[in-house]
Each structure stands twice: as C-alpha cells, then as structure tokens.
C-alpha cells in the first residue's frame, strides 16, 4: 500500500481501506456480498479517476515518492549488473547511476537519474539533480559502451540539472551540450525512457537516442510547471494552468512528434504494481533493441540526426 496518498487518490484509498477492514469479519456471508459490491465500486472509481487524469495530476504521479526509480528498474530488468562510478576527473555524481548488465540475452549499458525516497537518501542523491561531473560520468560510460559495441539505455527522472555555484564553475552548460553533441553520433543503438520527471536540459543531457519512450504517467518539458508559473504568471499558484499550457504528458509528446512510444502503466500508476511496470518495460526494450540492432550503424546515425532535425513547428 502506498505510504503517500495524493489528493485524487484519497477516495480510492479510503474505499480500499474499508474493504480491508471488512475482510477481517468476512466469515459472515452477508458481508461477503457487500465486499464484492464495494470492490466493484472501487474498481469503477479507479477507472474514472485514472482514465481522466489532468496534466497536473500526471505530474504528481510522475513525482510519486513510491514510484520506481532507475535502480528499481535496473534491479527488475537486468541480471549480473555491475555499477560503475565517476567521471575520472572530478568525482562520482550520486544523482546518476549507471553500469553494464544483462537484459534478456545481451549486455547493455543502463544509466539514469536517481532520486532518493527519504530526506537522507535525497540529500545523498541530490534529489536526482546532476552536476557537470554527472553528465561527464554518463558520457564516459556511453563512450565505453560504444567502444565495446553495447547498446545504451538511459532512464530520465530529474527535476532539473543542479543550479548551484560549483555546477556553474565546472561548466554545467558545457557538460550538457557535450553530451547532446556526442550522443547524436554515438555509434551504438540508444533507447531513451522517461520514467518520471523529464525537466528541461537536465533530462535531455542524457536524452538523445534512436527511440524515445515515455511512461504513461511521466512528464517531459522545457521547464517544470511551477517554474513556468512563477516566470510567466509571476506567481507560484498557476502550476495547474502551466502544466496544461505546456502539454507535457506522454500523449502530448507523441502528438508533438517527440516521443515514439508510450509505456503503459498499471491502473493507478507504476507505483501501484512496480513489478508489472518493470516487466512491461523489459519486454518493450527487448523488442525495440532487436529492431535497432538490425540497422547498420551509418544508417542508424543518419536517422538519429534526421529524427531530431524534424522536431519543431514553423512556417515560411
């Protein structure tokens, strides 16, 4: 059961609690009937809530503290995982984890932003906000993958690149730009998956690939709704409107030609049944990789540049 209950999850949660309570006295047949009708009600309620989520509600689900993070997916998807550390220059950024592991029958490099679940682990992970050495760590691992011809899978889940003093001193902008530059031409297949929050350049810094997948309840945009609200509406109170205006959900991004495929989540979100979310992602990744590995590298790289070159809307 989820420890954190979002506002719109509350009525469902309360019904579920009631069913649990009633089950304690379920020796009585009359109650069994009642339980059944309650179960139908909660099922209906779930459908009506989760099939009609607003954009802001999806943002909240994407940030749900019980949602699976990169290390959870690595645990569910890969065997023989070997985590690698550091950029060989500045240090080891804990906001990003990465290493080699076996997916199905093949070795892949999997890397992604890593958030923490409580205050202590969030401080350790810097809330999933990378510093320049994080982008350079990712770059080093990706170049290693290319050297040994292993596909790359990146998982995006960050509230943004860290806006700190040292981050600027060490070239946050250069580190992100360098990754975009190198990833565009990295001679192995790359699959990008937005698993939670895809906030701006901090997310995109590990987000160039041949296939861009997005979990059903994740978001991806140029700015977080709160920051957008504070800049354009000059107040933090317009986050719902900002989320609507930014069109930042998976179906929105499919429509904009940015995302290729939505990864379906169990009803209520990936945090309700993480194993199901993991199994779905695993089978989709294997399917996508099989297709990508058939494409000769020069063609793959040409298509990768063309893919991003086609993004945008203009008239002349």
């Amino acid at each position: 059961m989820a420890k954190v209950i979002l506002d719109f999850e509350r009525p469902i949660f309360e019904l579920e609690q009631k069913i649990v309570e009633m089950r304690k006295y379920s020796d009585n047949l009359d109650i069994a009937h009642e339980i059944k009708s309650l179960e139908q009600r909660v099922d209906q309620l779930r459908r009506s809530v989760y099939n009609n989520l607003t954009r802001w509600q999806r943002v909240q689900l994407a940030r749900h503290p019980d949602r699976p993070y990169t290390l959870d997916y690595i645990g569910m998807l890969l065997t023989d995982f070997v985590e690698l550390h550091g950029d060989r220059h500045q240090g080891d950024d804990k906001a990003i984890v990465g290493g080699f592991g076996t997916l199905g029958h093949q070795t892949v490099l999997m890397l992604g932003h890593q958030k923490g679940r409580d205050t202590k682990s969030n401080i350790y992970r810097n809330f999933g906000m990378m510093n320049p050495e994080g982008y350079r760590k990712a770059l080093r691992l990706m170049q290693l993958a290319a050297k040994f011809n292993r596909p790359v899978i990146t998982l995006l889940d960050t509230p943004g690149a860290f806006p700190g003093l040292e981050a600027e001193e060490r070239g946050q902008a250069e580190a992100i730009a360098r990754n975009l530059f190198v990833m565009s031409r990295l001679p192995v297949p790359i699959i990008v998956v937005i698993i939670g929050e895809g906030a701006s350049g901090g997310a995109l810094g590990i987000g160039i690939g041949d296939r861009i997948l997005m979990f059903e309840n994740s978001w991806y945009s140029v700015i977080a709704p709160e920051s957008c609200s504070s800049i354009l509406w000059r107040s933090w109170d317009y986050k719902e409107q900002a989320a609507e205006a930014l069109r930042l959900t998976a179906p929105d991004l499919i429509e904009q030609g940015i995302v290729d495929r939505i990864v379906p989540e169990p009803l209520g979100g990936a945090h309700r049944l993480p194993d199901v979310a993991g199994a779905t992602l695993k089978s989709i990744l294997i399917e996508e990789l099989t297709k990508l590995k058939k494409i000769p590298v020069p063609k793959l790289l040409q298509k990768r540049v063309e893919k991003f070159a086609a993004m945008g809307a203009w008239k002349e």
């Binding site: 975009l180 530059f181 190198v182 205006a245 904009q256 940015i258 540049v305 993004m311 945008g312």
Partner: protein
C-alpha cells in the same frame, strides 16, 4: 552588504530594459556617462570611457562584422506557428505578432551568408529584443539550416548568441532545439569546417547548453553574463549572495570555458585572424 548592491547593478540580464533607446543621447549602463548616438555608433555601441558593451542586435553585428554589402539573408520569412496554442497572460500567437511589429524581426535569430575580409562565412546572430532571445522552433530550424549551409559550402560558421534560454511557450519542442542544433553541429565537426561561437550579454539556459558551448573557438565580449542557470535561481538555491564577477566572461575564461575575450572594436579582426589559422 555594499558589494551586493553593486553586483546587483551589474547584473544587466536581470534588467530587460537595456536595449538602445531612440533618443539622441544615451546614458552608459556602466559609468553613467551621457553619450551621443553618433559617437556610440562609431564606438560600435561601447562606452569609450568604461568599455561597457551596450546590448545590440543582429543588424548592428552584421554591419561591422561583415564586408559591406556582402550579407545575403537566409530563411527571411520563417516564423513561429504556436504549436501548443499556448496562453499565459496573453496568447503566444498574439505575443509573436506584436513582437514582430515592435521589433521588425521575424524571430530571435537572423542567419545568412556573407564575407569577412573577402572570406565567405555563414553567420547567425541572435536578437535579445525578440522575446529575450529565446530559442523555439524557428531559432532551432534557422540555426540548423545555417549549419547545413556551412557544411555544404565548407564555409566557416559564426554564431553570435544572446539569449535567456529556451522559449517556454513552445514547451518540449523548444527543448528539442538543443538536441537538433547540437546534432547538426556534430555533423559539421565531422567535415572539419570551423565553428566560432561568440557569446554576448547574456548567453544563458538552453542556448548555452547547446550550440553556444560547442564552438571550436569560444569568444566572449567583456563582462557578458554566460551560464546555464540564471543568477537569481542560483542565489535562491544556495541562499547566499554570488561572488563578484560570477558567471561573467572573465570568470568563464578563468574556469576554462572561453578561449578569448574580445572587445567589440577588435571582434572582426580577431575572427578574421582565427579563420585564417583554421581555414585557409
């Protein structure tokens, strides 16, 4: 707290009202000197007393960087489509229309071909006056086409940046322009055509985190604000005042991210010299 006040006054990018006023006399943003328009133009919009660089646009840069009459503009009519039908305090489409009317520009970058000392170049210059020099689809596409032109003709590429970052009103499509321009630059690099990135005040956010930081040579005007996060956001994050000169050209050069700081007066000559070394 005295230095804090002073550094506040130095952060020009937080004060958007710095574009050239229309009158005959202008007050220097650095030392307060009153300068006549003619003189300012002669000094390439810098203060001869304190070397303050006024914020100028593509028209001015093209006028003193390129050989007279050599500029041929590309993609002159390209304009934004408002793909998200975005509305904040006013609809984005109206904001675009009004800005076009006010500035006489179609979007935040102009691109074209020209010559510098008879050497053909492809050049792009951003206009901060157009929605803070923000990068949306049009900026990304025009820059990408300029890169393609440089690659096709094997002419050096020069991009003069001045931008507050990616344009919010085009959402994720704006973010993808970072990817698009960087991918195009990766292709250009493979054909050994030089790319000079010139950073002016301010160059921040998505523009810095893509093409502006991917030059073979990085040139900055003196005292320009260059960074990823804006000073206000960083100040909020760390809860402290920022050191003097933080995120200025001189600071970036000290940290290893800028090759040369060039006074506007010497910009043309320095670019010409670099091109002679890399591409003759």
């Amino acid at each position: 707290m005295a230095w804090f006040k002073r550094s506040q006054a130095n952060i020009q990018s937080e004060n958007p009202k710095k574009e050239m006023p229309d009158g005959m006399w202008t007050k220097c943003g650095g030392c307060g000197e009153i300068i006549h328009r003619k003189q300012l133009e002669q000094e390439l919009w810098t203060c001869s007393k304190c070397q303050y660089h006024f914020r100028i646009g593509s028209k001015e840069y093209f006028s003193f960087l390129l050989d007279a009459g050599s500029f041929k503009e590309m993609d002159k009519k390209m304009r934004s489509m408002d793909p998200l039908q975005f509305t904040d305090s006013k609809p984005y489409s109206r904001r675009i229309d009004e800005t076009i009317k006010k500035t006489g520009l179609m979007d935040a970058v102009r691109t074209g071909r020209g010559t510098i000392d008879q050497r053909p170049v492809v050049i792009a210059c951003m206009d901060f006056a157009f929605i803070g020099g923000s990068m949306g689809s049009v900026v990304g596409e025009k820059i990408s086409r300029a890169i393609d032109a440089a690659r096709k003709h094997k002419h050096p590429l020069i991009i003069i940046s001045s931008s507050g970052g990616a344009r919010m009103m085009e959402g994720a499509l704006s973010l993808m322009q970072l990817a698009k321009t960087s991918a195009k630059l990766a292709e250009l690099a493979e054909s050994h055509v030089p790319f000079i990135s010139v950073m002016t005040d301010p160059t921040t956010g998505g523009v810095t985190a893509s093409f502006a930081m991917l030059g073979d040579i990085h040139i900055a005007e003196p005292q320009a604000l260059i960074g990823f996060a804006g000073p206000r956001v960083i100040r909020q994050t760390i809860g402290k005042d920022l050191p003097k000169g933080f995120q200025r050209s001189e600071f970036l050069q000290e940290k290893g991210f800028v090759d040369i700081i060039v006074h506007r007066r010497e910009m043309r000559e320095q670019i010409s010299r670099v091109l002679q070394h890399l591409h003759s």
